[in-house]
Homo-oligomer: 196 residues x 2
């Protein structure tokens, strides 16, 4: 079977409903864009901001992720299973930017939604796995993808959105509205094995 | 209907299968216990470490959480819906310590499992909503519940376990094996509204 079993409809299947991205109000973000762009109007007619699709396996999504960290050698079957698991679980808002001229993913970020009992059974968002193709400088892609999923978290009712980052990225995220909260901004990790 | 609709079997329903807690090997943790205890042998015969159950709504689980942060006024129906949503989504390892003499929850911590594409479609753990009843001093409850869910993350195949914490808790978590990674230990937040 392999790739052949995926017909056009299955390939274009989204991991979440794309309509929600069209109604995000970028004027609510403290981020400054120049020129002003948004998920609905990303600034170039060959660029689109949308949820991950099954066919992004064939559009360089994993190759882009591998610029961020190791991905290993993920087969179509593995990708497809994880896509299905994430979609069934709900709460995985994997979001990408595609260059439609060449059918390649050039930016990605994931919002995960964590269900809580606290705060009246609220939900919390997390920003994960942000990466942009650095040959597209000057297109504000990093800002565009992060603000998109941050506004999405708000739209979905999160009481807060959280991220962990390296020192060199603090200023970037501060410009988008994220804060290091005094006395409460420590990200700690325990690592169990070398990632593959 | 209300509470009456929950029969004994439904009330004792676990949010995840409890057997896995019995096989956690506490000698793998760098945490030092004195005396040595574990999830299977928590040190007192009236104490049990187990997954959250539906009936914990009636055993002070939410009252305990409210010692950590605001919970709002959660009805039985809301609790039940969130319990079901978490169980259906998978990945919510809400774990508690009960004092069986008084049928009250005296400690809690949650491991959430986040599915990834990176690292060969791996999974990452997060430690959330840790709270212990501080009238049980000297029972090592904080250490017990955190080590339990940390070993659980490893058992479930996570490549790492992460947490965000206040400055005053850094030493405690370091003693359990968590590290502030140099240059990469910043937890940032964007808050959207006052939590209820």
């Amino acid at each position: 079977m392999g790739i052949e079993k995926y017909n056009q409809d299955e390939n274009s299947e989204y991991i979440y409903e794309p309509q929600i991205l069209q109604k995000l109000d970028f004027s609510k973000s403290p981020a400054k864009f120049n020129p002003q762009i948004s998920a609905a109007q990303p600034g170039e007619d060959w660029m689109v901001v949308r949820p991950l699709q099954r066919d992004d396996y064939n559009k360089g999504f994993l190759q882009l992720l591998s610029q961020l960290t190791s991905t290993g050698n993920i087969s179509r079957k593995q990708f497809d299973e994880r896509f299905t698991q994430m979609k069934n679980a709900g709460g995985y808002y994997v979001t990408v930017i595609e260059d439609k001229r060449i059918s390649q993913i050039i930016g990605a970020a994931t919002l995960t939604i964590e269900q809580k009992f606290i705060h009246n059974c609220s939900v919390r968002g997390r920003l994960e796995d942000v990466v942009v193709n650095d040959t597209y400088r000057g297109k504000q892609l990093g800002k565009l993808i992060v603000v998109t999923v941050s506004l999405l978290a708000q739209e979905l009712g999160c009481y807060k959105m959280s991220l962990d980052c390296k020192d060199k990225l603090i200023k970037f995220y501060e410009s988008l509205g994220y804060k290091l909260e005094p006395g409460n901004s420590n990200a700690m990790n325990m690592r169990f094995e070398e990632p593959s």
